[in-house]
């Protein structure tokens, strides 16, 4: 717990390209590449309050899915970013989150099976503090918190559908919440759980052509 993680983290992210892309006979449908982002810090713990609550600097880490890079907080009031992370809270560039054309919702299913945004789905916009587009809270949106083990685990089969700051679509699967991309064992010390949490590993597909197909 005494371990402090410095506020500004200079880590950067490896975009690992996995998929291949090919064109079908018509040439207009592309199988888009999934990109994996490792260990994105999201308001990591910098101290512990006298009553034992760990805290961070309180800032969101803003990310551009279009450009696959972190966006400085200076640009928070622009449409340059698409998704933001602070602890377990995920924001979109919409409503209370930002001035962009963003929004989103949590889709139940696998990443690969989400081939297009269902036509009957509602794109939500952020309305902090109670109604984020990506619903916040344990077992309500993308993660579950186990108080016995003191661990946060992304729920499998949850895909974040994100409408970006510029109104394009992307799908995001959060894979892990701990540094190194591996959830700690329940037996790990609380100190280690505090130090290593709030590091997102996720993969995403960004559709640049404005359609809802991935």
């Amino acid at each position: 717990m005494k371990h402090l993680v410095k506020g500004v983290v200079v880590i950067m992210l490896m975009g690992a390209f996995v998929a291949c892309s090919k064109k079908d006979s018509n040439g207009d449908t592309q199988v888009l590449a999934a990109v994996t982002v490792n260990d994105l810090p999201a308001d990591t713990i910098i101290g512990v309050s006298p009553n034992g609550q760990p805290y961070g600097s309180g800032r969101f880490t803003l990310y551009s899915l279009e450009r696959n890079q972190v966006v400085s907080n200076v640009d928070s009031n622009t449409n340059k970013w698409d998704i933001g992370f602070r602890g377990t809270t995920v924001i979109t560039n919409s409503g209370t989150g930002g001035p962009g054309m963003g929004g989103g919702f949590v889709f139940v299913g696998t990443f690969d099976n989400l081939k297009s945004v269902p036509t009957d789905s509602t794109i939500r916009v952020d309305a902090a503090p109670s109604a984020y587009a990506i619903t916040n809270g344990s077992n309500r949106g993308w993660y579950v918190y186990n108080p016995t083990a003191n661990l946060v685990t992304p729920i499998p089969g949850r895909v974040l559908v994100i409408r970006t700051g510029t109104g394009k679509f992307a799908k995001v699967e959060i894979l892990n919440y701990y540094r190194g991309g591996v959830t700690l064992p329940a037996s790990a010390s609380d100190d280690e759980k505090t130090r290593k949490q709030r590091f997102y590993t996720f993969r995403f597909v960004y559709q640049s052509n404005g359609s809802k197909n991935f």
Binding site: M1, K2, V48, P50, G52, V108, T110, F111, P129, S130, G137, S138, N139, Y143, V144, N146, P147, A149, N150, T153, P154, I155, P156, G157, R158, V159, E173, L175, N176, G181, T183, A186, S187, T201, R203
Partner: protein, 695 residues
């Protein structure tokens, strides 16, 4: 918080040999069972699965606490949260009724009645009846009934015993009995203490804390005539537990002292009258009070204090009528008044109460030489919850002299407990959350809402209504086969369909995000499996006994989610994929396979030795993939094998000695079995001061 603690000590099991050697396995030997039908009945005529553990089995081996002996019985799984509880046919400890001489014990924590509260020094036998018993016993008897039958005054005798073992575990007991004319009396005293232990390295806190327990029981009997008898029993048990804890905060370790004190008092007057050959009536009064205080102190400041006081009063009459040679009828009725006070509720001075009025009847009909039918029905009218009707039907068929078939189906129920109605608990640490009982929740949340402190009400808030009893339907079909005198074989298939299970659900969010939980009847589950028991008498000296239980469990809502394709897990690469039905493991903390094996040797010159092995396969403990249920990708406790051995001799001069080793292989599991100690040794001496002459 102070853990509720227990000592895993020993032992014990031994084997009866010689003429009555087959008595150890339930089935055919003609021991008398009272729990299965509430009337004395030969075990060979009981149509439901029963295990009888005789005092000889317990005594000769030197078990100390009830848990020690129950863990060696087929199909009984000892759980270790909030004390040692017993899981029967895959149902949690909440659903097994525990009786002493037919009267229930109270003082459950989170549904668990700690089996370490009970010493076994004056037990005549333990009857374990599997399958729903609510048609005779009402609430809690969903999975089964465990009835501890204590020694009654018989003749004049006096004996004493001492046992000393690892962790400075010391146990002393004495039993006395006196009888003159119409008057009889008996006394039992037991003192138990231990240093406790910690199998966690580098911690001050002991997983089992130093504790001492004192139990006494006094019974008096007076026969007004051969037909009328009065008995009264007093039992008093106390338990003191202390523990030191080191709490680390910002690198500073604060030492705290935990203290726990539990008291249990039972008073049970019983009047029995035999009107004639056909009619017998029993009037029973019962009062029991359990109180528990837990405190955590740091240099004079009380950081935490928890108090529970629970009183249970009952009056009951049971009348047995032998209508004809082949038909016995039983009628009963009674009234229960229960009171609870606790710091866990809104105000510790506020006494909560509940009343139950009930009636039951049973017909036991020997139809012909090979078929017996037993039918029973009970109605419980509960002031706070909906009433419950519990029927049961059981058959026993004798196919030939070597083959018997039992079949039974019954309804069981468990009334919601006080905690599920009145709990008022807020945890300020860990982000802050509150749990309210269902009656309390609506009141508190509506008030908070009025004050503008509620952020959002969840769908489950609107489903908060009066809680219903949890219910089950249990099926048991068994075969007993006695191919030869030296062999015995039992098979029992069981299935329990459980509905209306009460579980906590998120009902609201406070401003600031802290969660509010309450209780709802939301879950349905099923447990099913098979039990096998085998007894083989090799020769005059050696006997082998083996037991096995296969168990499958499922939460029906989870099964539906899986079938609907809404449950996922992760592949090796960490990506989500659909979870298959075959990956589902069922309910946590349950082993698919449990087995025990007992090998006993007995020498005619009063030597004996035995080896008892208990195995349980892996059980689910941790939902690692976060999908809300337990599947093969999750965290399991390793399967384990526990081996206990013991040997002893009875000397000519009324002296008995015994030595034993528990957990011979020194198996420990720091994370999943923190309450299970490693290898332990013990030595025991018993001395009969006055031999029983006029039994």
């Amino acid at each position: 918080m102070i853990r509720i603690l227990f000592i895993v000590t020993l032992i014990g099991w031994s084997i009866q040999l010689g003429a009555q050697s087959l008595d150890t396995l339930s089935g055919t030997a003609d021991e008398v069972v009272v729990t299965a039908t509430r009337t004395e009945r030969k075990l060979s005529n009981v149509a439901v699965p029963v295990i009888i553990v005789s005092n000889k089995i317990i005594e000769r081996a030197g078990s100390l606490r009830l848990k020690d002996i129950l863990q060696e019985q087929t199909g009984l799984f000892i759980t270790n949260g909030f004390g040692a509880g017993v899981q029967l046919q895959g149902l949690s400890p909440d659903y097994t009724l525990i009786l002493i001489d037919g009267e229930p014990l109270v003082g459950r924590t989170a549904g668990v009645l700690d089996l370490n509260r009970l010493n076994v020094g004056n037990i005549k036998k333990i009857e374990i009846v599997k399958g729903p018993g609510s048609s005779l016993y009402g609430s809690e008897a969903m999975a089964g009934v465990i009835n501890i039958i204590t020694e009654k005054p018989a003749g004049t005798k006096l004996d004493a015993g001492l046992r000393y073992g690892t962790y400075n575990t010391f146990d002393a007991l004495t039993n006395a009995s006196y009888k003159k004319g119409a008057f009889s009396a008996s006394g039992h005293m037991n003192y138990y203490r231990t240093d406790g232990f910690s199998i966690r390295p580098f911690t001050v806190e002991r997983t089992v804390a130093p504790l001492n327990r004192f139990t006494q029981q006094w019974q008096f009997g007076y026969s007004f005539s051969t037909k009328t008898k009065f008995t009264v029993s007093f039992r008093n048990a106390t338990e003191q537990i202390t523990n030191e804890l080191g709490v680390t905060n910002n690198g500073v370790i604060t030492y705290s002292k935990g203290r726990e004190e539990n008291k249990d008092v039972n008073i049970n007057p019983v009047l029995t009258h035999q009107f004639n050959d056909r009619v017998k009536t029993i009037l029973r009064l019962y009062n029991t009070t359990f109180s528990s205080l837990q405190e955590l102190n740091t240099t004079g400041n009380t950081l935490y204090s928890d108090y529970l006081w629970h009183q249970f009063n009952r009056i009951e009459n049971q009348t047995d009528y032998q209508a004809s040679k082949n038909l016995q009828l039983t009628f009963g009725a009674g009234q229960v008044n229960e009171y609870v006070r606790s710091t866990r509720y809104d105000n510790v001075n506020n006494k909560r109460s509940n009343d139950v009025t009930y009636g039951f009847t049973q017909a036991d009909w020997i139809i012909n030489t090979w078929l017996t039918v037993i039918g029973g029905l009970r109605y419980d009218d509960n002031r706070l919850y909906a009433a419950a009707l519990s029927p049961k039907l059981a058959l026993r068929a004798k196919l030939n002299t070597k083959l018997f078939v039992n079949a039974s189906v019954g309804r069981g129920f468990k009334a919601p407990d006080f905690r599920q109605l009145y709990l008022n608990f807020t945890n300020t640490a860990a982000g802050g959350y509150s749990v309210y009982g269902s009656l309390e929740a609506q009141k508190v949340i509506n008030e908070l809402n009025r004050l503008g402190q509620i952020e959002s009400l969840e769908a489950d808030f609107y489903r908060l209504t009066n809680l219903q009893p949890e219910q089950s339907t249990g099926w048991n079909i068994g075969i007993q086969w006695l191919p030869e005198k030296s062999w015995k074989f039992n098979v029992n298939l069981f299935r329990n369909d459980i509905t209306n299970l009460i579980d906590s659900r998120l009902v609201a969010y406070k401003k600031g995000g802290s969660q509010i939980f309450s209780y709802l009847n939301v879950r349905n589950a099923v447990t099913q499996g098979a039990e096998l028991e085998l007894l083989y008498q090799l020769n005059k000296y050696w006997q082998v006994q083996a037991g096995y239980q296969l168990l499958y469990t499922a939460d029906l809502a989870q099964l539906n989610e899986i079938k609907a394709g809404r449950v996922f897990t992760r592949d090796a690469g960490g990506f989500s994929r659909l979870m298959k039905r075959s990956e589902y493991f069922g309910l946590p903390n349950r082993s698919r396979h449990m087995a025990n094996m007992k090998i006993g040797y007995e020498h005619p010159k009063n030597w004996f030795a035995n080896l008892r092995a208990i195995y349980r396969s892996k059980w689910a403990v941790n939902d690692i993939d976060g999908n809300g249920l337990f599947n093969s990708n999750d965290g399991f406790a390793n399967g384990m094998l526990l081996v206990n051995i013991s040997a002893g001799k009875k000397w000519k001069n009324n002296l008995q000695t015994q030595v034993g080793i528990d957990n011979l292989s020194d198996y420990t599991d720091v994370f999943n079995l923190p309450n299970m100690p490693g290898r332990q040794y013990y030595l025991r001496i018993n001395y009969t001061i006055i031999q029983n002459k006029n039994k």
